[in-house]
C-alpha cells in the first residue's frame, strides 16, 4: 500500500484534487447545449400541437448550436419557428413586440437560463405582453431544466483545462528527458516566444502573409522550431564539451532568447510602419486565414493541441521504453561514467536531449502563435518554472536516471487542475503562488522518501 502510494502518488494526488474541486464547485448548472435545446423543444411539443415558437438566445456559437437544435426538433414535430433572435435583452423585447404587432401567433418562447433573466422575458413583463397583444395571449416560456452538478466536472471545463495547458505538457516531454539526464533547461519559456515570433514573421514575409498556403505555414513553423532546436544544440554542446553547468547555460539562453524575440518583434513592427518604433507590439500578427487552425481548431470535438499532446506523449513513451536512445538517456542520467564505459555516446545523447527539449519549446511556441493568431514576444513567460514543476510533480528525480513520461503528463495535469480549480474557487493569484510552491516541495519530499526506501 505504502509502495503503491509512493510509486503512484501523483495519480492519487490528481484524483484527490479532482474530487476536491468537484465538491467545492457543486452548484446549479444551466445547460446551453444542443441536447438541452432538444429537451426544450420536446417539452414545447408535448404541451402544444404544431406550436409557433420564438427562439431567444445570446449571440455566441454555443447559443446558435442550441437554437439550431430547438429549430430542428420543432420543425420535425410539425411546428414553426416564428423568429430566432440572437443578441441582447433589447433584441428579445423588439422581437416580441414585432411579433405581437404583426399579429403573429406565438405559443412558446424557447430560451435558456442566462437569457431567461433578461427583462422582456421576466414573468411580469411577459404578462404585460400577453395582455397587450392577442396573438401572444397563450405564450409560455420554456428553458432547459437546471440541475445540481460540479461546474469543475463539466466537459467544457475539463477540455478547457487540458487545452490551456497542452503547450506546457508538450514542453514537459523535453524537460523530462533533460531532467532524467540530471540536467535542467531554463530556456524553454523564452524559446516559446522565439519560435512564435520567428514563425509569424517568416509567414508574413516569405510565405505570402494573408495568402500563405499550408505548405508555407508548415515550412515557416519548422523554421521557428528549428531555431529553437539549434538553441537546444547549443545548450547541449556547452554542457558537454565545455562542461558549463546546465543551469548557467540555459539561464543565459533564457535571457538572450527573450531579448531576441522582443527585438525581432519590434523591428518587424517598425518595418511595417516604415521606420520609427512604436513601442513593443503585443504580437506579430499572422493574417493567413487557416493559421489559427492548429491552436483553435478541433478534430471530432477534441481541440488540436490536446490531440497533438497525446500523440507526442505516446511517441515519447515508446521512445523512452522501447528504443536504444531511451535506454541511453536513462543510463547517462543514472551513471554517466558507467554509461561511457559501456560504449554509450554520452555527449551525443546529451546534446540530442537538449535539442529535443528546445524543439518541444519551439512547437509550443507555434501552437501559441496559432492560438493568438500571431507570434507574441512575451509568450511563455515563466513557463520554465511550470514545466519543471510538472516534471518534478510527475515523479522524475532531479538526481537523474529515473522518471516516466506519463508521470510527467499526470504532473502537468495536476498543475493545470490546481490552477483551474483555484480560479474557480475564487482564490487570488497571489495565494495560488503559495499553493504551487508548496506543491513542488511536497513532490520533491515524496521523491526523497522514495529514494530512502
Amino acid at each position: 500500500m505504502k509502495k503503491f502510494l509512493l510509486n503512484n502518488g501523483s495519480v492519487v494526488v490528481l484524483v484527490l484534487l479532482c474530487v476536491y474541486y468537484s465538491i467545492v464547485t457543486i452548484g446549479r448548472q444551466h445547460p446551453v447545449t444542443p441536447a438541452a435545446g432538444e429537451e426544450v423543444a420536446q417539452a414545447i411539443l408535448a404541451d402544444t400541437k404544431a406550436p409557433s415558437v420564438l427562439i431567444v438566445t445570446r449571440d455566441t456559437d454555443q447559443d446558435r448550436e442550441f437554437a439550431r437544435a430547438v429549430r430542428a426538433v420543432i420543425e420535425a414535430g410539425g411546428g414553426t419557428i416564428v423568429d430566432s433572435v440572437h443578441g441582447i435583452a433589447i433584441d428579445a423585447g423588439r422581437a416580441i413586440r414585432t411579433a405581437g404587432e404583426a399579429g403573429k401567433q406565438v405559443d412558446a418562447i424557447a430560451t435558456h437560463q442566462p437569457s431567461s433573466e433578461w427583462g422582456p422575458l421576466k414573468t411580469e413583463r411577459l404578462e404585460e405582453s400577453r395582455n397587450e397583444f392577442r396573438s401572444l395571449r397563450g405564450v409560455k416560456l420554456y428553458k432547459p431544466v437546471s440541475y445540481v452538478w460540479p461546474s469543475f466536472l463539466t466537459r467544457p471545463n475539463l477540455v478547457n483545462v487540458v487545452n490551456q495547458n497542452a503547450d506546457i505538457a508538450i514542453i514537459a516531454i523535453g524537460m523530462t528527458l533533460v531532467i532524467i539526464t540530471a540536467g535542467i533547461d531554463l530556456s524553454v519559456g523564452s524559446l516559446v516566444a522565439v519560435a512564435g515570433v520567428v514563425t509569424a514573421v517568416t509567414i508574413q514575409k516569405w510565405a505570402g502573409g494573408a495568402d500563405a498556403g499550408a505548405a508555407g505555414m508548415i515550412g515557416c513553423s519548422l523554421i521557428g522550431i528549428g531555431v529553437c532546436l539549434l538553441c537546444g544544440v547549443f545548450n547541449g554542446v556547452m554542457v558537454t564539451y565545455f562542461r558549463v553547468p546546465a543551469f548557467v547555460v540555459t539561464l543565459g539562453i533564457m535571457m538572450v532568447a527573450r531579448g531576441v524575440a522582443l527585438i525581432i518583434a519590434v523591428q518587424y513592427q517598425s518595418s511595417l510602419l516604415g521606420g520609427g518604433t512604436k513601442g513593443t507590439p503585443e504580437a506579430v500578427k499572422v493574417e493567413a486565414i487557416a493559421w489559427p487552425w492548429l491552436g483553435n481548431g478541433s478534430i471530432l470535438g477534441v481541440p488540436n493541441p490536446i490531440l497533438l499532446m497525446l500523440v507526442l506523449y505516446i511517441l515519447a513513451h515508446l521512445v523512452m521504453t522501447r528504443t536504444s536512445f531511451g535506454r541511453y538517456v536513462y543510463a547517462v542520467g543514472g551513471n554517466p561514467e558507467a554509461a561511457r564505459l559501456s560504449g554509450v555516446p554520452v555527449f551525443a545523447v546529451l546534446i540530442s536531449v537538449y535539442a529535443l527539449c528546445g524543439a518541444m519549446a519551439g512547437l509550443a511556441g507555434v501552437i501559441d502563435a496559432s492560438r493568438f493568431e500571431g507570434g507574441r514576444p512575451i509568450a511563455g513567460d515563466l513557463y520554465e518554472l511550470k514545466v519543471i514543476a510538472a516534471v518534478v510533480v510527475g515523479g522524475t528525480s532531479l538526481a537523474g536516471g529515473e522518471g516516466r513520461i506519463f508521470g510527467t503528463l499526470i504532473g502537468a495535469m495536476i498543475i493545470a487542475v490546481i490552477e483551474n480549480g483555484l480560479n474557480m474557487a475564487g482564490v487570488a493569484s497571489y495565494e495560488q503562488k503559495i499553493v504551487f510552491g508548496l506543491l513542488i516541495l511536497v513532490a520533491v519530499l515524496l521523491d526523497r522518501l522514495k529514494a530512502r526506501d
Binding site: R327, Y330, R340
Partner: protein, 506 residues
C-alpha cells in the same frame, strides 16, 4: 632526563583492536605500541588492514572492540575531533587541505578560537612561521595552498599536525607523490620530529625507505598482527615473508585439458607498445596472446588500472599503439574499444560498471544495443531471451529482469557485467580486480569462467593485487611499479609471492 625511559615508555598503546565491515573482518585483535621519539613503520599487503587501523586511530572508523591508551590513560577516539584532542594527527594520502585558502588558514583550520570572535591573524601568521622554522623550511604563510608543490603541501600538513600539539603523527604513504630530493627533505623533517619526542607511524610500500627511516616495523596481514620487530633484526626478504607469508590454498580451478601457454596460446592477440600517460603510465609495452591468461600486478597506485584504461580508451593516452591480431586499433574512446572487441570489467562496479538505478536487463543490454536494436528499436524478445540464457549459464541470482542492479550482491553484479560483454562477443577481456568484494563461492565461478574464456582463444588480462590469485590463475605475470613494467615472470604457476613483491616494491 633519562634517555632510556623516555625511549621505552609507549605514548600510544592499542590493544585487541577489532573492526568488521559488512562481509569483511578488517582487523582482528591487533596490538600496536608506539614509543615517543620513534618511527614505527606499518607494513602489509593491500587489504592487510593498515588503512583501517589508521582510520580507527584518526576517529574516522569507530572500533568494534579494543582499547586505546595514550600515556597510560584510556582514551576514546570516536570522532576526528576526539582523536585530535588526544594528540593524534593523521596525514592521509589525499591531503585534507583547502586549495583556495592560504597556508596559514589551512594550518589553523578547525582551530579558530571561537565561531564569532575575530581571528588573530597576526598571531597565527607568527605561529605558522615558527612552525615552519621548527620543521626547517620557509613557506610564505599567506601563499595559497593551490600554488604550492606537493612536497610543500606535505609540509603544510605536518605543520598543521604540529599546530594541534600532536604528539602522535601518522603518515600514510607520504612519499608516494614526492621526488627523491623531496623525499630526503621529508626524512630530515621526520628525524627532527623524532628527536623532539614525537611518535611517528609511517606507512609505506617502499621497503628501501623503511630501512632508512624506521626504528621498528609492525606487519599486518589479513587484518591480523604478524609481529613487531626492530629494524636491525630484519632483512628485505624477511620483511616480505612477514607480509605475504600465507599458504596457497587450493582455491583456483585447474585449466581444463591440461593446457599450458606453450600448447594453447595461439598467435596474434593483444599487443600494446610504449603506452604513456603522464606519470601514471610510462612506456608500457606487453603482449597477451590468444588463449593466454596474463596477470598484471603490483601495488595499488602502480599504474595497472591506468594502463588498462588506456587500452580501453577510457582515458586519453599521450603516446603508444594498441594492436589486436597484428592490426593497429584507433581507440580514442571506450566506444571504439568495444567496437574493436575489447572490453573492461572495471574494479569499481558500482560507479563505473553498472547503472545501479536501472534494471539488470537494461544494464545487460546497454553495450549491446547495436545487436538488439540495430535500427534503434529494441527487439525485446531477443534481448530477454539472451539475458535469460546468461542468467542460467552464469547462475546469476536475480529476482526478476526488472530488479535494480543496486540490489544484487557483488558476485552477481560482476556476473551481469560479464554477461553483457560475453553477449558482445569480445575478443579481449580485461578484468580489473575481478574478485574484489566477492564471496568465495562466486570467486571460484568467476575463475572458471576466466579459464574458459582463455580456452576459447580469447585474450584474457587480469589485474589483481591478491598474489595468491595472481599465482593461481595466470599463465604469465607482469609486475608494475610507479607506472613502469618492472618485471615479467614467464611461468605464472611457478612464481612465488616473494618474487612478485620483490619486483613490486623495488
Amino acid at each position: 632526563m633519562n634517555e632510556t625511559t623516555h625511549k621505552t615508555q609507549p605514548i600510544l598503546t592499542m590493544r585487541g583492536i577489532d573492526k568488521s565491515f559488512p562481509g569483511v573482518h578488517a582487523l582482528r585483535n591487533v596490538d600496536l605500541d608506539l614509543i615517543a621519539g620513534e618511527v614505527l613503520a606499518l607494513l602489509g599487503e593491500n587489504g592487510a588492514g593498515k588503512s583501517t587501523l589508521i582510520r580507527v586511530l584518526g576517529g574516522a572508523h569507530s572500533l568494534d572492540k579494543g582499547t586505546i591508551h595514550i600515556d597510560g590513560q584510556a582514551v576514546s577516539v570516536d570522532s576526528p575531533q576526539e582523536s585530535q584532542a588526544a594528540g593524534i594527527s593523521i596525514i592521509y594520502q589525499e591531503f585534507n587541505l583547502v586549495p583556495a585558502l592560504s597556508v596559514r588558514e589551512n594550518v589553523f583550520l578547525g582551530q579558530e578560537p571561537s565561531r564569532l570572535s575575530i581571528i588573530p591573524v597576526e598571531k597565527e601568521r607568527k605561529r605558522t612561521r615558527e612552525l615552519f622554522a621548527k620543521i626547517g623550511v620557509t613557506i610564505d604563510p599567506d601563499a595559497l595552498v593551490r600554488d604550492l608543490t606537493i612536497a610543500e603541501q606535505q609540509v603544510v600538513e605536518i605543520a598543521k599536525a604540529l599546530a594541534t600539539d600532536a604528539r602522535i603523527i601518522v603518515m600514510d604513504e607520504p612519499t608516494a607523490a614526492l621526488s627523491p630530493n623531496e623525499v630526503e627533505g621529508l626524512f630530515t623533517i621526520i628525524r627532527d620530529l623524532r628527536s623532539q619526542g614525537i611518535g611517528i607511524v609511517y606507512v609505506s610500500h617502499r621497503l628501501v625507505e623503511i630501512f632508512e627511516i624506521a626504528d621498528r616495523v609492525t606487519v599486518l596481514r589479513d587484518g591480523s598482527l604478524v609481529g613487531t620487530k626492530p629494524i636491525g633484526e630484519l632483512t628485505r626478504e624477511s620483511m616480505i615473508e612477514m607480509m605475504v607469508g600465507r599458504k596457497l590454498e587450493n582455491e583456483f580451478p585447474k585449466r581444463s585439458s591440461g593446457s599450458t601457454p606453450e600448447t594453447s596460446a595461439g598467435e596474434g592477440g593483444l599487443v600494446v607498445s610504449n603506452l604513456c600517460r603522464g606519470d601514471a603510465v610510462r612506456n608500457v609495452s606487453f603482449q597477451v596472446k590468444r588463449g593466454e591468461l596474463v596477470a598484471l600486478t603490483g601495488l595499488v597506485g602502480a599504474g595497472r588500472t591506468e594502463t588498462v584504461r588506456l587500452i580501453f580508451g577510457a582515458d586519453r593516452r599521450d603516446a603508444g599503439d594498441i594492436l589486436l591480431d597484428g592490426k593497429k586499433l584507433a581507440v580514442s574512446k571506450p566506444r571504439d574499444a568495444i567496437a574493436a572487441g575489447i572490453c573492461l570489467l572495471t574494479e569499481d562496479r558500482k560507479h563505473q560498471g553498472l547503472v545501479l538505478k536501472r534494471s539488470v536487463l537494461e544494464n545487460f543490454g546497454l553495450p549491446n544495443m547495436s545487436r538488439f536494436a540495430p535500427r534503434g528499436w529494441i527487439d525485446q524478445k531477443q534481448e530477454r531471451s539472451a539475458f535469460d540464457g546468461y542468467v542460467k549459464q552464469l547462475r546469476v541470482k536475480v529476482a526478476s529482469r526488472d530488479q535494480l542492479a543496486a540490489n544484487l550482491s557483488g558476485g552477481n553484479q560482476q556476473k551481469i557485467v560479464l554477461a553483457r560483454w560475453l553477449e558482445r562477443n569480445a575478443e579481449v577481456i580485461i578484468f580489473d580486480e575481478p574478485t574484489r568484494g566477492i564471496d568465495v563461492g562466486a570467486k571460484y565461478e568467476i575463475y572458471l569462467l576466466m579459464n574458459e574464456l582463455a580456452a576459447q582463444g580469447k585474450v584474457v588480462l587480469m589485474i589483481s593485487s591478491e598474489l595468491p590469485e595472481v599465482i593461481g590463475m595466470a599463465d604469465r605475470i607482469l609486475v608494475m611499479h610507479e607506472g613502469r613494467i618492472t618485471g615479467e615472470i614467464a611461468d605464472g604457476r611457478a612464481a612465488t609471492q616473494e618474487q612478485i613483491m620483490d619486483l613490486a616494491v623495488q
